[in-house]
């Protein structure tokens, strides 16, 4: 599983990409919680984070499979 962080979340997590050692997370919510425990600053932003799984926006309860690409995305500001 690959985990990506963008924008502000990348700064808070200290890196853009992690080939998750948290492969025991069953859902996106659990995966985020594991990172939030490690990087407490991330936890504060939980309400303004959306997640994607394999490049589609995904609900927090989305189940994870090995090989998934999960990304945590802050509010988008393109344009």
């Amino acid at each position: 599983m690959t985990v990506l962080f963008f924008g502000r979340l990348k700064d808070l997590a200290g890196h853009a990409e992690d080939s998750a050692e948290f492969s025991n997370a069953a859902t996106i919510e659990q995966l985020f919680a594991l990172y939030a425990a490690r990087y407490p600053e991330l936890a504060k932003y939980r309400s303004s984070v959306v997640a994607s799984r394999n490049q589609e926006f995904a609900a927090w309860d989305t189940p994870l499979r090995s090989g998934d690409e999960v990304a945590f995305l802050p509010p988008v500001s393109g344009g």
Partner: protein
């Protein structure tokens, strides 16, 4: 799933956007109108003088979302071709960050589709800008894309 016309253009680029070339590419004899949107870097944000912006994207997903917007445009409006290009990296004041050109037989559809495109892009395409000021830098406020609230439950095996 419907496919995009092959002569549409959806790109992320790191060089200045050639707007005139894109407008020419969407122009065809059967069209009667082209509406374009040129979004460029403003010299201030919340009354602070901006030095420059730095754009980053989740590139593969951003391109997929831009193409999705294109598909919706063709479904909703009677348009001909779309060019949608977003620039990444460092942009100076006045430089174009996003450019959209829409051709159509008649102007109303082109106006409506172009407005839909930029509004949807700003809400759903994973691109972020960091604003640099004299005294520091901040990630710009943005919009949280709409996300499914819960995944559909798998049907129990019968």
């Amino acid at each position: 799933m419907a496919t995009l016309p092959h002569d549409d253009i959806y790109q992320l680029v790191r060089e200045p956007i050639d707007m005139a070339a894109l407008a020419r590419l969407v122009r065809a004899p059967e069209d009667g109108a082209i509406v374009t949107f040129d979004g460029f870097v403003r010299n201030q944000s919340h009354n602070r003088a901006t030095l420059y912006l730095d754009y980053e994207a989740y590139e593969s997903m951003a391109l997929a979302k831009m193409r999705e917007i294109g598909l919706q445009m063709h479904e909703k409006y009677r348009i001909h071709r779309v060019a949608m290009v977003h620039r990444l990296g460092r942009l100076e004041i006045g430089e174009t960050s996003v450019y959209i050109a829409v051709s159509a037989p008649h102007r109303a559809a082109a106006f409506d589709a172009c407005r839909f495109a930029i509004d949807t892009l700003k809400r759903t395409v994973p691109i972020w800008k960091k604003e640099y000021f004299e005294d520091g830098a901040v990630w710009a406020d943005g919009e949280l894309p709409p996300v499914p609230t819960a995944t559909p439950r798998a049907k129990p095996a019968s």
